[in-house]
Every structure is written in C-alpha cells, then in structure tokens.
Symmetry: C2
Subunit: 201 residues, 2 copies
C-alpha cells in the first residue's frame, strides 16, 4: 500500500468538514489511507494575513452561499452553518491528537463525530466539556480526555503539528498532500484524484 | 437564447487568463454567449483586504505551482508566469471597454490577444503603447486606441464597471454570474456547468 494522504484540517473550517466527508472514499479508491492532522488556522493566518472567510467584506456573503451550494454539489446533504462561527478549535484538536497516539481508528471516528456535531447539529465543540462529552459517546474515557485538553505535553504536540504543517507549506483547510504534492481546498480534489491515478502531469 | 454569462476578469490574473480560454466553450455548450467585463482587482482588494496571491507568504509558493499545474490540468498548454507580475491593468482594460462600445466581437479578439501576450509571450501589456500595438494587430485603429486610454470618459466607464461589479458582489478574477448565481474561480466552473445544465440544485 502506498503512503497515506496527509489531510490537514481545522475544526472551525466548513470546507474542511465537507472534505472530511469525501477524503476517505477518494483515498480508498486509489488504495490509500488517510493521515489526519488537526491544525490551528488562526496561528497560520497570522503569517499569511488571512482572516476567516465569512468575516471578509464581499467574500463573506459569497462564501456562506458557496458553502451551502458546495455541500449540496458534493453530496454532503447534512450541513448547516453553525450559529456561533468561527470558533477556537484547540479543545477538539487536542483531544484528537491525544487519541491518535492511543488509537488512531477511534481518533478518526472522533474527528467525524466532532465535525458533524459542529456542522450538522450546531453544537459548540470549542467548549472543552462538550468536546469531551462527544468523545465519551465515541467510547473515549472522559476523565482522561478532559485532562488531555490541559496537558502541557498535548498542547505542545498541537503546536508542533502546526509548525510542521507550516514548514510543509500548509496555509489553509482542507489541505492535502499526496506524495509531496500539495492541494489546497476541496475544489482541488479533482486534481488530487487525477494525481493519484496518474502520478502527476 | 438565454442571457449571456457575465465574465469578470483582471488582465493581471493568471486564473482569469486560464478561465478566458475555457468560458466560451462552456457557454456555447449551453446555448449562452459571454459578456466580458474587465475589472481592476486592486481597487476591489482595498475593500476585501486581499493581496495578489503570489505576494502572500506560504500561499505565494503554492499558487505559482498551482497555476502551472491548473493550466495543464485544464488543457491550457500555453501558459507561463510573466517575469513582471502583477501589473496594473488600466491600459488594456480601458482599450477593451472602449472597443466593446464600438464592436464587441473585435473586443473579444482583443481580450484574447492581450491575455495571451501577457501569459504566453511574457509581454508587459501594462504599457499603453504595447497594449495599443497588440490592438493594432487585431485591426483596431492605433491612434484612436491610444487616445482612448487617456480619455476621461473611458476612465470613468472603467470606474463604473468596477463599481457595478462590486455592487454585484464581485471580488475576484475570474468571477462569473449565471442568471444571478455567482461563481468565483475557474475551480467553480464545474458547479457553473451543472447550474447551466439544471438551473440550480
């Protein structure tokens, strides 16, 4: 089996959520796995001068329309913009990183559960106790997960994940890397697919 | 015949150039024409806080790679990043707007000639005399075209075109509007195509 596709995402990213619902099928179709990397876009935006799309004049109105339209276009029927947006995503990102070390398969379930809680059920997953409750439903030990959020080692792991992402040129969400070839956005999945099929062009 | 597709573009926009090579076939396939609108992204970027992609940390390196890759992906084989980039695009935009009033068919030829001069032959079309020379090759009267660039009425027409674009929510290049539905970027042509075929979803 070839190297997994690296999938970088922020839990506060609508296009990241949509892509999280599509990436596994894309990868599986080409005999690949997915390596999930939660990142903190806010930190990266300080380097690029970017801001959350919905807060930008002109672009904000368009992007809200485009997110809903893109969800339907890509067949992700369950999507709605959360009433509180954007959110800081440290708590869910840290639980996922911590769980990834203990059991990657459960970490993937947890990513989907957290993303869907935010972008389908409008649950504010930035609150540590809420993120932990979702983890518990997935079978994660709640006390340990709650402790992980404030664990300096886990905090540091997230910082390192972010720094490695930046060093690799990652600046958005979703952002995938296929055999060192970078693709930014769900709207590059068509190019990523051809890359997977042909090895480049 | 249904309403034409409005195609907004800046002559300094690489993705605008790529889209200019694809939009007519897309429109024709669905029985539509194209209404070409040159705009000045620099003015619009002041409202959105955006900057030319290639000048942004992290995004700059990625975008140069993505532009070349996207050109090949979309079958626009003739593309290279100009050695001087970005450029102010008032001169070519004004000649095109002026020519559009006199003869829209020739204006379309002129748009392609100017875009290809910049993104294929690395010719700096921001220089009025160079833009005029390209217009002359297309059959436009050079003296009249040169005068149009400094004509206050033509300058004003470009300002109005820009203001109308902003009022309509346009903030990037390429940006197309199909029956009031906005699509930003060549990477939304797949959605625009489905919209043209189905009337929305």
């Amino acid at each position: 089996m070839s190297a997994p596709i690296d999938f970088y995402f922020d839990f506060s990213s609508p296009y990241g959520y949509l892509a999280s619902e599509k990436i596994e099928a894309l990868a599986a179709k080409h005999g690949r796995g997915v390596d999930w990397h939660p990142i903190m876009l806010g930190v990266i935006f300080k380097q690029t001068g970017a801001a959350p799309l919905t807060m930008i004049p002109l672009k904000g109105d368009y992007s809200r329309r485009d997110m809903a339209r893109s969800a339907r276009f890509h067949g992700v029927e369950a999507f709605r913009m959360p009433s509180k947006f954007p959110i800081p995503s440290q708590a869910p990102a840290r639980i996922v990183l911590w769980q990834k070390q203990r059991g990657p398969a459960l970490a993937v379930n947890l990513i989907h559960a957290l993303y869907r809680a935010f972008f389908v059920d409008d649950i504010d997953i930035s609150a540590p106790d809420i993120a932990v409750a979702i983890a518990a439903k997935c079978g994660v030990d709640s006390a340990a997960a709650r402790a992980a959020i404030d664990d300096p080692a886990v905090k540091d792991a997230l910082k390192q994940e972010n720094e490695q992402a930046i060093a690799r040129g990652v600046f958005g969400s979703p952002f995938i890397v296929v055999d060192e070839e970078p693709f930014w956005g769900l709207d590059r999945f068509d190019q990523a697919e051809r890359w997977l099929a042909t090895g480049g062009w």
